[in-house]
Structure formats: C-alpha cells, structure tokens
Amino acid sequence: MDEKLNVKDMDLRNLDDSLFEKDDSAYADADKLNRPSVTYWSDAWRRFRGNKVAMISAVILVLVILMAVFQPMTSPYTYDEQDLFAINQGPSSEHWFGTDELGRDIFVRCWEGARVSLLIAFVVAVLNGTIGILYGGIAGYFGGLADNVMMRFCELIASIPQMLWVVLLILIMRPGIFPIIIAIAATGWIGTARLFRGQVFSLKESEFVMASRTMGAGSIWIILKHLLPNAMSPIIISMANVIPSAIFSEAFLSYIGLGVPLPTASWGILASDGANKLLSYPYQLLFPSLLICITMLCFNLMGDGLRDALDPRMRQ
C-alpha cells in the first residue's frame, strides 16, 4: 500500500539510473552456511545430551569416580585401620556406613574398593580395546589364511566359559590387582576382536581405503587411521559393556576366594564379606552392594544412551 503511494508521489522526471541497477543482495551469501556444520561426533553428543537418563547416569558416574579419588584422601579413617573398640557398629554419624568385624570404617572401605574395582574395570576395558582392535583389524584386513588361523584361535579360547580361563590364570599368577586385570583381559578381548574384524571386513573394500592405498599408505596406517574411526561407535558401545562385566568378574573372583589380597578393599571383597554376615549385620552387605548396583545401573544406562546416540538405527 505504502509503496504504491510512493510511486504515485514520485517525481517521474527525477528518476535516477541507480534505481535500475540489478539487485544481487538477496543472493550475495547464497553459499554461506547459516548453521555450523554438524559432524558425526557433535551430532552424537547432541543426542546424548538430550537423553536425560543417560546424562544423569554419566553425572552420577563422575561423582562416584571423584568420591573414589578424593574420599580416601580426606577421610579421618583409612581402609585398613582397625579399631577393636568399634567392631560391627551400625551406621552412625561417626561411621556413615558402620564398621566391620575388625572395626574398619565401611564408608572409606567402600570408596577404596571403588578405586580398586574401577581401576580394574577401566584398565581391562583399555586393554581389551587395544588388543581386540589390533587383532581383529589385522585378521579382518589381511583376510585369507591369517584370518582363518587367528579366528580359529579365538574360537578355541571362546569354547570354554571365560571364568574358567580367569580362574586358571589367577591360580598361576597368584591373586592381586594386576593378575586380575591380566586374567580378565587375557580372554576378554575376543569380543572386541570379532566385532572389529566384522567391521573391517565390510569397510575394507570401500573407495576411501582404496584411495589411501593408492597413495601408498601402509596396512597398519589404514587400519588405525581409516578403518578404526569408521568402526568407532560399535567399539565404544561394547567398551561401555566391558566395564560392568569386569566389575562383575572381580566380584565373582573375590567371592570364590581369588580376589585381591587382604587387607585391600574391593567391591567384590566388601560384598562377599558382607554376604557372609548378612544374617547378623545386613548393613555390611547393603552399602557395598548398593554402591555396586548403582554404578552398574549407571554404566548400563549410559551404555544404552551411547548406543542410541552413536547408532541411531538401534534406537527403539
């Protein structure tokens, strides 16, 4: 309406050439990207952040880790300090989770146990990942005879329940934190190896691998630099499952008497000690097992969240 009025009011004799110039301003930044480009990882992070359950689990896990690191440093008690005047006390303001049969503070033992159990779990996860990726990558990439022999070996190991291997290896090495890590990792990498081998198999004929090979890249370079990043999401998801299962394995070993040596505390030791005294002092089982359950729950929920974030096809 306004413009029509304007045209009418305009002095037609005073028209300027500039009014007839082509106006490109609307197309000037047609090439410009209005939003920052979303990479796979930032997209995954956005999805993960949007998943409330997974985020809460992640926060709780961070808290558990922080407590495990700092609580034993700041506590007035130590994990192996005995106080025979305060044995089997229930929870109180002095001993939040009570004391055990040697008068040791269970609260500090729980967090000391968290240190040991989480250390075992994380180191096992890293070892599993590294060995599994190298082994599976080599088997998958070279294929043929190498693949056949390597996968036969995996099958042989996998044909026995993993716990039997772990028990045998611990018997050889004698119980301790390091032997437990080695024993669990020694057979645990099979899963990762199989997984990554499958991924490599389906990826190795891709054009980008051929391009890299044409430019003279070596096999290990291609496996680690090109194939691994493309197969990262299933590997991360399986890592998130390795951690809780390692915590379980440690607990199982402690329960059958092959856990870390005394007086070291681990969640497995605490829970199995507590289970023996369930009838007389139930709180001694309650607190360690609550801590184990919450941590496991968070790892499992976070693992589900990671799966949904990294592999949207899997979302139900």
């Binding site: 028990v167 059958i256 009838l279 496991m296 139900q316």
Partner: protein, 306 residues
C-alpha cells in the same frame, strides 16, 4: 548334512584335545610344589608322594600319561581327599547342578520371554517401562547379592523355604530362583528388541494389509521370527547352565560341581581343579557342538556356509 556333522565333530575333537593340553600345561605352570605344607616333611615321604602321583617323571611323560588316562575316561584323583576322584565328584554333582542350571534357564527363558513379548506389544506403555527397569536391574545386581537377599527374606525372615542344603523338592526353589534372575532380565530384553525389530519388517505390513487379525499376526508372523536370536543364545546358555552357577551353589550350600570347583580352588587341590576344568570345558564344547547341529537342522543356510 552328514558331511556337516562330521566336519563339526572333527573340529570339536581338536578343540577338546587343545583345551586339555592347554589346561595341563597351565596347571603345571602354577608356582609352588603341590605337596607344600607348613610342617616339615621327611624327604622319603615327599619322594613317595611324588612317585605315587607320577610327579617324579619328566613333564612330557606326565603329559602322555595324562592324555592316555583322559582317553580312558579317567580324569584324575583328588590330591587332598584320598577317596575322591574327579569323575566321582562330577557324577554326584552333575545332576544337582543340572537341575539348578536348566531350571534357571527354563524358568528365566519362559518368564523373560513372557515379559519381553508383553513389553514389545505394549511398546512405550507402563508395562514396557517396567520391563526395561527390570531388565536393567537384572544385569546390575550381582547374583551373589540377589542370592543372599532372597535367602534372607524367603528363608530366614518369612521361613517359606529351607535356608540351605539339598534334601528335597523345597530345597530346589530358591537356588533356581537365583539362577533364573539374570536370565529373566536377559531374555526379556532380547525378546523385546527382536520383536520390535520384526514388527517393523515389511512382511508384517503385508500380513496386516492382507487383513489378518492381531492374534494371527503375533502368533504366526511376529513370534516365530522373534525367537531366532533366542535359539542362537541357547548354546552358551546350556553350557553356562551346567557350569555357571558356582556362586549360587555356594550360597545355598548345594552339592553341585560348581561347589566342588570352589572348594578345590580354596583347598588348592590342583589335580581336582585341572580335572574339573577339563570336564567343564568338555561340557561346554559338546554343548556348542550339539547346538551347531541343531542350527544345521533348523537353518539350511548355516549348513551350506559351514
């Protein structure tokens, strides 16, 4: 089919042989002497003991003897208890372990599958969330914690079942419950996922558009296809059923093979550990073999590929 079975059989025998060999050498790598006791032992007694168990011979010779004995079905004797043999322990413990193990798998599978089906049919409903919570709790609670808990409540507080032991039918229930717990969670989750997966397939739309009613679609098209991953998990499950309930057997003091394994580990009864390990390994290898054969019958694709 004959060729497939033969091939599988040969590979099973090779696996058994290798497993026995590895176990033998691993056990002989265990540090320390088998008859180390804190008391002073006269040399002659030691020598007699070593001679009795053949430990004075070179390792290679011991290996040959051990393998020959295995072939004759002799898995060795206990080092700590004179009259016990590995085979004796296994024959007395196996039925008990099998009751608990297969009871746990069966109960877990039925209940878990039921939950899984319910959850998938009521996808995103209250039932679904309850089942998901149950499934996650099931994999988050260690089985010895769960076992101890039901022991405390069902046996000690409410006195519904005996606390421990193995003297009759009522002693079976709690251990089986404990063994079923993880399986319920596992199967519920698995069946829910696989059903949702199948429900999204094109042939389900086809079935719907043909005008089949809901019951027919669920019964004939969805369920049948959703059970495939369950069949795949049977091999490890059956192997685990016989060998995987160490902790539960210990909690409820059930005289199964798991309990024997734990006590021989705690007594450092090395010949017993070695014999039991080999038997456990044999059981699981044979289970895998049988399951492979069953697959071959069920799914012709595997037969051709294998």
């Amino acid at each position: 089919m004959g060729k497939y079975v033969a091939k599988r059989f040969v590979s099973m025998v090779i696996t058994l042989f290798l497993v026995a060999t590895v176990t033998f050498f691993l056990m002989h790598a265990v540090p320390g002497q088998p008859f180390e006791i804190s008391r002073e032992t006269p040399e002659s007694v030691k020598e007699a003991l070593y001679a009795k168990y053949g430990l004075d011979r070179p390792l290679s010779e011991q290996y040959v003897i051990y393998m020959k004995n295995l072939l004759r079905g002799d898995f060795g004797v206990s080092m700590k208890y004179k009259s016990q043999t590995v085979l004796g322990k296994v024959t007395s413990g196996m039925p008990v372990s099998a009751v608990i193990g297969f009871g746990g798998v069966l109960a877990g599978c039925l209940i878990g599958a039921g939950f899984g089906i319910l959850a998938a049919l009521k996808n995103k409903g209250v039932t679904d969330y309850l089942v998901i919570i149950l499934a996650i709790l099931g994999v988050s609670i260690p089985n010895f914690v769960f076992g101890s808990l039901i022991q405390r409540y069902f046996a000690v507080e409410w006195k519904l079942f005996p606390i421990q032991g193995w003297k009759g039918a009522e002693y079976v229930i709690l251990p089986v419950m404990a063994a079923a717990f993880t399986n319920v969670a596992y199967y519920a989750r698995m069946l829910r996922t696989s059903m949702l997966d199948v429900m999204g397939q094109d042939y389900i739309y086809t079935a719907k558009s043909k005008g089949l009613n809901q019951n027919e679609i669920v019964g004939k098209h969805i369920l049948r296809n959703s059970f495939l991953p369950l069949v795949t998990s049977l091999g490890p499950m059956c192997a685990g059923a016989l060998t995987g309930n160490f902790v539960i057997e210990k909690i409820f003091n059930v005289p199964g093979i798991g309990q024997s394994m734990i006590s021989s580990i705690q007594n450092s009864d090395y010949t017993m550990i070695m014999g039991l390990t080999i038997i456990f390994a044999f059981i699981s290898v044979i289970c895998y073999f049988l399951v492979d054969i069953i697959y071959g019958i069920v799914d012709p694709r595997i037969r051709i590929a294998g």
